[in-house]
């Protein structure tokens, strides 16, 4: 009997945990006006970023 109750509870707990992980980012995403980035870093990452955008049209 007690075990059966535990069985009922387990999926509910697992599902709650899953929901919490995607509900919000850890920190609020705010625009950072003091972006201090060297152009060479941008050039190095450019190809990867282009591929990322192409492969994920819904997100970008």
């Amino acid at each position: 009997m007690r075990r059966a109750k535990l069985l009922l509870l387990a999926p509910a707990l697992i599902s709650t945990a899953g929901c919490v992980s995607v509900s919000a980012p850890d920190k609020p995403i705010e625009i950072n006006l003091n972006i201090n980035i060297r152009q060479e870093v941008v050039v190095r990452l450019q190809e990867d970023v282009r591929e990322l955008i192409e492969k994920n049209p819904g997100v970008f």
Binding site: I14, I31, I35, I37, V59
Partner: protein
């Protein structure tokens, strides 16, 4: 109710919850970011994330959050792969998005923090570090 009935019920409940989660994931539109930009309520920011222009309904804000969470995950992943900072990957992506994804009449937010509407066929001005 015997023990077996309860086990079956538990399995059914677990199944229903799993289906619900899958359904929510499927509801993410294949062109979510593009349609948000086209709505005029959302624009691209110089930090590599979508932002809400003015006061948009909570449904729009929720969609923006959903896209931004996914972006953050991709940026984090790529930053780890290339030994870069998340902000560097995000800013590089912003350069690319501002250059290619903001259509005339759509909004963007540069490093000065103000929202601007892209005017006709004029290019979106890019931050200095964009290659």
């Amino acid at each position: 109710m015997n023990r077996r009935t309860k086990t079956v019920l538990a399995a059914a409940l677990a199944g229903a919850l799993l289906l619900g989660t899958a359904g929510a994931a499927y509801a993410f539109q294949a062109d979510a970011a593009a349609s948000l930009r086209a709505s005029g309520q959302v624009g691209e920011q110089a930090d590599g994330y979508l932002g809400v222009v003015g006061s948009a309904p909570s449904a729009v804000r929720a969609q923006v959050d959903s896209v931004n969470i996914k972006r953050r995950a991709y940026y984090t992943d790529l930053a780890a792969k290339r030994g870069a900072k998340i902000e560097e990957v995000a800013a590089t992506t912003a350069c690319e998005l501002l250059r290619t994804k903001v259509a005339p009449g759509q909004f963007y937010r540069g490093t000065d923090g103000t929202w601007q509407k892209r005017d006709g066929s004029a290019a979106v001005p890019l931050p200095g570090y964009c290659g």
